[in-house]
């Protein structure tokens, strides 16, 4: 019975991917052309004595000695974990997310209340901090995860991926489409996953260098400060708009939605609440702006540690064509990196610190990733696959180094030297 079901799953997986390619192809053709000489990429890399590439960036399953049946077996292992958790979902998960929501709403209300006493510096600091934490919880552990459909099974409209919207400039429904579909389906496929450098930064040696890339560190700093608007414009595909690949009339519906949402957010933070606090208007405005920027920088930091640190891999369009579900799991595993930390850190990062588990199981409630991590790590050991995990300073440090190095031309051999891969 179980065997039959697994076989069915695999077949369906393959069919499903074919359909994805068909849907995605009309967009991907143009984007792939913008990358120079995909064919020559493999030539610079070499295969180490243990069959593992030391050209860190781009890899294939074959380089890890995995056949398609190995990948099927790998996929079946992860499928089994996924099924086990799905059948165990219940009150515990709902209680958890409601507790986080209660804390978030309490901090938001409390923070805004404290800013009424903004003339008293400790109150201003505490109010701003509470509001920043509320926005971070709202965006990361609640918004990101709810909009992934992690709680759709509850049928609670408050926890519905279709109905939730978050406290940030980007409209939830727009983000859901680009993130859940493009990024999670085409993870780290250069040319298809627009989250590779977010179409602003040169983050991979496989992205063509132009003098524009010289500004990489500056763009990254600006993106960190204005991350919520960066995410909003990402959906508009602002880069394609600027290059003329996309017309304004084509972009307008998305842009209008993004601007309307940004306006509502701005009215709330920079008009209504400052007015409500009367003489404290300017102090409230400053507090709200600080909370927004703090959230922006934090979200940028965590999210950039997801796929860009040393030891994360990229994939070619060819490698990922007509991939099996097992290969999809392989790609998610190797394209993601974890950040180590305590329980509070995981909560504040929306459990995106468990980026590997998140990419393997994007629709399982994120608070379970920590429980699954040891099992995922054990599977990696069994299959001789790397499990990229490190502290925040190490992971983010390597992202910063990469952003700076990629400002200059080339970088493939630098990447190989700077990011040696330990299997």
């Amino acid at each position: 019975m179980t065997t039959t079901m697994t076989a069915t799953t695999m077949t369906e997986g393959v069919e499903g991917v074919e359909a994805v390619e068909a849907v995605g192809s009309f967009e991907s053709v143009e984007s792939v052309e913008s990358i120079d000489s995909i064919g020559s990429i493999g030539s610079e890399g070499g295969v180490g004595s243990e069959g593992v590439t030391f050209d860190a960036i781009r890899t294939t399953a074959a380089e890890f000695g995995l056949t398609s049946s190995d990948l099927d077996a790998l996929g079946a292992e992860f499928e089994a974990i996924r099924r086990e958790v799905l059948s165990d979902l219940g009150q515990r998960d709902v209680d958890y997310i409601r507790r986080v929501i209660r804390a978030q709403r309490g901090l938001a209300a409390g923070g805004r209340a404290l800013l009424f006493a903004g003339f008293f510096p400790p109150a201003w600091l505490a109010g701003t901090a509470a509001l920043a934490v509320a926005k971070i919880l709202d965006n990361m552990e609640i918004g990101h995860n709810v909009m992934h459909g992690q709680y759709d099974w509850t049928r609670d409209p408050v926890l519905s991926s279709k109905q939730f919207d978050w406290d940030t400039a980007c409209p939830g429904d727009q983000w859901r489409l680009s993130h859940n579909y493009e990024h999670h389906t085409f993870t780290n496929i250069v040319g298809k996953d627009r989250d590779v450098g977010y179409a602003i930064l040169r983050i991979s040696p496989d992205q063509r260098w132009t003098p524009v890339a010289l500004g990489n560190p500056l763009y990254a700093a600006l993106l960190a400060l204005m991350f919520e608007h960066g995410v909003m414009l990402h959906n508009v595909e602002a880069e394609r708009l600027m290059s003329g690949d996309k017309s304004w009339s084509e972009a307008w519906p998305t842009l209008r939605g993004g601007l309307a949402k940004s306006a509502r957010q701005a009215v709330k933070d920079y008009v209504l609440w400052p007015l409500a606090t009367g003489p404290m208007a300017l102090s409230t405005m400053a507090g709200n702006a600080t909370a927004n920027v703090a959230r922006n920088v934090w979200a940028f930091t965590i999210i950039f540690c997801g796929h860009f640190p040393a030891g994360t891999y990229e994939f070619s369009v060819e490698e990922s064509e007509e991939e099996s579900r097992g290969h999809w799991y392989f790609r998610q595993l190797l394209g993601s990196a974890n950040i180590e930390g305590g329980a509070l850190f995981h909560l504040m990062s929306g459990n995106l610190s468990h980026q590997i588990e998140h990419h393997l199981f994007p629709d399982l409630p994120a608070h379970r990733y920590g429980e699954l991590a040891p099992r995922v790590r054990a599977i990696c050991e069994q299959y001789g696959l790397p499990y990229n995990s490190g502290g925040l300073s190490r992971q983010f440090g390597s992202v910063v180094a990469k952003i700076c190095r990629m400002a200059l031309p080339g970088g493939r051999s630098w990447t190989a030297r700077a990011f040696p891969v330990a299997a």
């Binding site: 079901m5 069915t8 799953t9 369906e12 997986g13 499903g16 991917v17 359909a19 994805v20 849907v23 499928e79 996924r82 799905l86 059948s87 979902l89 219940g90 009150q91 515990r92 998960d93 709902v94 209680d95 929501i101 209660r102 709403r105 309490g106 938001a108 209300a109 992934h148 459909g149 759709d152 099974w153 509850t154 049928r155 609670d156 408050v158 519905s160 991926s161 279709k162 919207d165 978050w166 406290d167 939830g172 859901r176 489409l177 859940n180 579909y181 999670h184 389906t185 949402k261 509502r264 957010q265 009215v267 709330k268 209504l272 609440w273 409500a276 579900r325 999809w328 994007p362 629709d363």
Partner: protein
């Protein structure tokens, strides 16, 4: 009404401003954490009283929030409860008087063998339980100008909407003749026995007939409904407006009697609210209906998304492998099987990823 007053308009204006200050979540999402039944728009209620009249039923008195606009006798509400973290919605008819001064209303739920919601309520409902409600709905109601002669027939737990009619008529001081016929399996299986006795005793215009089909000789009459029995109950039955709610065979029998007499227009029926029964897993066939586009196709075993596209629909879709939830769409009726997990999902309102779901029997989607 209160909705028209100046103070209510001021409240609504204040709520709009507060919603802007609480964007994107809105005021409700904050207040409900402190007061679970409070909402500016949604109808919710709190169970105020619980009594268990028989072994397998529970009678709930519900205190609805201010968004509840009352009901007409015979109508139902969609009740939502959370069971092990999952929300379930079922229809239940109000059993209380629609003319009562109190805003509270009463529902009686009978446990069905495989009923998730009914069993939960019968076993676990207690005062304080917060439930979601829909506004009262349903066309199984009496005209505002009450018919002079009434025949109310019910079977089993179908008693609730017709009892609501009876209670409402009594409260309104209706004087025309009312015949109330109820079929139960056994006398200990019948809800509202003492209430009905009291109503009949206090109102000479009510004639109460109880039939216990498993216990011949114990009720007012024996056997199932037929023309002879109906004539025996009320010689002028054909002159009455009739309201019937109960199991399908009862309703079919009454419908046939009225149709044969050519007075089908005088008969009003309410389908007995049976809980969803899981269809046989893995079965093929059945029909796949897309309600929003008024399209129906015979199900061919492929995924709902594939069949929808084959039928010319263009539902939203993304990864087509069950990951991204772009295609998630509410199931209206029926059961689907997840081809990745094998899991079955049933019932109205469940969000289903149609790219990895195949229909099991008749299925309807809001597409």
């Amino acid at each position: 009404m209160f909705t028209e007053t100046r103070s209510w308009r001021a409240v609504q204006r204040a709520v709009r401003v507060a919603d802007m200050a609480a964007t994107p979540h809105g005021v409700d999402r904050y207040v409900e954490l402190v007061a679970p039944t409070w909402s500016t728009t949604e109808v919710r209620g709190r169970v105020a009283l619980v009594r268990r009249q028989t072994d397998n039923t529970v009678t709930l008195t519900i205190d609805p929030n201010r968004n509840w606009r009352g009901f007409r006798a015979g109508q139902h509400t969609q009740l939502t409860v959370e069971i092990d973290g999952v929300r379930h919605t079922r229809c239940y008819s109000m059993a209380s008087s629609a003319a009562a001064a109190s805003r509270h209303f009463e529902l009686t739920v009978k446990a069905h063998p495989h009923g998730t919601v009914s069993n939960f309520l019968v076993e676990h409902a207690q005062p304080g339980l917060v439930v979601g409600l829909s506004p009262a709905q349903g066309a199984f109601t009496m005209p505002a100008l009450r018919p002079s002669r009434l025949l109310l027939i019910s079977g089993g737990s179908g008693i609730t909407p017709v009892l609501s009619m009876l209670r409402t008529l009594c409260e309104e001081g209706h004087t025309g003749p009312i015949t109330f016929v109820h079929y139960a399996l056994r006398s200990d299986d019948m809800t509202y026995r003492s209430e009905l006795d009291a109503l009949a005793a206090a109102h000479p215009n009510i004639r109460l007939i109880r039939v216990f089909t498993d216990e011949p000789g114990t009720g007012d009459l024996d056997g199932f409904v037929d023309l002879a029995q109906l004539a025996d109950i009320d010689a002028s039955w054909a002159a009455a407006e009739a309201y019937v709610c109960g199991p399908a065979p009862l309703m079919a029998a009454v419908e046939e009697i009225f149709a044969q007499r050519g007075i089908g227009k005088q008969l009003h029926t309410e389908a007995f609210a049976l809980e969803q029964v899981l269809a046989e897993a893995g079965s093929v066939g059945g029909s796949l209906r897309f309600a929003a586009s008024s399209t129906s196709v015979p199900s061919d075993g492929r995924t709902v998304l594939q069949q929808a596209e084959a039928a010319g629909l263009r539902p939203a879709s993304g990864c087509r492998m069950g990951i991204c939830h772009t295609c998630a769409c509410p199931l209206q009726a029926g059961t689907v099987r997840d081809i990745v997990t094998g899991e079955l999902t049933s019932g109205a309102g469940a969000d289903v990823r149609i790219c990895v779901s195949v229909p099991v029997g008749d299925v309807e989607f809001d597409l």
